[in-house]
Symmetry: C2
Subunit: 224 residues, 2 copies
Amino acid sequence: MPPVRADPGSADGRLGVTADAVLDAALTLFAARGYHGTAVSQIAAALGIRTPSLYNHMRSKQDLLETIVERTLDEVLDDFRTAVGDLTDPAERLRRATRAYALRHATHRREALVVNRDTTSLPEPTMTRMRERRRDHERVVRAVIADGIDSGAFHVDSPALASFAILEMCVSIARWFREDGARSAEQVADEYTDFALRIVGFVPAPDSTDRQADGTGGPDGSDR
Amino acid sequence: MPPVRADPGSADGRLGVTADAVLDAALTLFAARGYHGTAVSQIAAALGIRTPSLYNHMRSKQDLLETIVERTLDEVLDDFRTAVGDLTDPAERLRRATRAYALRHATHRREALVVNRDTTSLPEPTMTRMRERRRDHERVVRAVIADGIDSGAFHVDSPALASFAILEMCVSIARWFREDGARSAEQVADEYTDFALRIVGFVPAPDSTDRQADGTGGPDGSDR
DNA sequence: CCTACCGATCGGTAGG
DNA sequence: CCTACCGATCGGTAGG
């Protein structure tokens, strides 16, 4: 009886390839060479099997991409909700949201590269859904920034441009971060969080009175 | 019989395809679908000719990519040198460098998308050269930031992280900017320049007689 | 600029 | 998990 679902415990003790292993190999190759630049035969070779055997663990090459993208975007939104929780202070919300996003892009580089490069290769129902999710994420961040402006904590012209800049700056971490580099993922995330607060012109409230911005770009090293 | 060679300015009539036209069509398609996602036949179709005719104007598909990437990176370095000129003030140098880079990514979106997505598809002599050029650009920006820190104008922990953040933030403009959007390329470039100065913790010297006054890092929208 | 055509490789299926 | 094999398409060439 052929195992339809991934069952790691094969009868003869020889560990077969699982659906997750296929997904992981595809993720590595898609990230390195792009979706269209990766042949199904390369995924099979990475797993030490022949191409047709791959189809015992996946539906199609396209389905691999869809699964990777959807799974990743779900996790990003989960990250955001977990990070900001029920906090109300805009600065703290932005801090947590940025930190989680930056951290994710340092620790899930492959996923980030695939999502940001190969979305144009997605079939149509998925592509629209994916765009909506990215837009949702951008909007909640933008709303946090707008809240901060309203409360007088942030001083920036355009919440939209600020949210674009902050989010894309974090995304780009996936392009250069190395696990064996000079800085840990946490250190990078912390620094990028500072950058985010500077971009929105965060000035910690000294006390209750809303102080007028002095117009010189407020943040210096003191808010680190 | 269509003219083999024609004035590029008279674009209305049916003209013979030129090498530049092939490059431009390839640029559009590579940007939209990626290098491996674009078939040579699609480039030909975009120009209204058959695939084999394309080879009167190009050497190979790969050569198109190489030409696009090398040309673009040359222009980026030219941009930088032209923008900063012989200025010495770190803030002014960073301002000009950021503005030029941001502006380029708003006005040359296709080139930016191709360079940032399809570099892994470059053949080896070109790929290394291209990486070196990008690294050179990053280093000069990093040096500007380090200078600003030394002179006391900038206050930021890591010049390297700050330069990554600033450059990649500008690169990402190519992903969302629309010519018919709410802001002009110049407006976006100006805002991103402000973001860059905030990221490095720029505080204008109080006794400076620079023509810039304090509007540079100003978070208020009074001058916009 | 075209028609005719090439070998190679693509993603995927048949059938064990 | 395999061998055998499919039609489609790929980038590119021959030869006008």
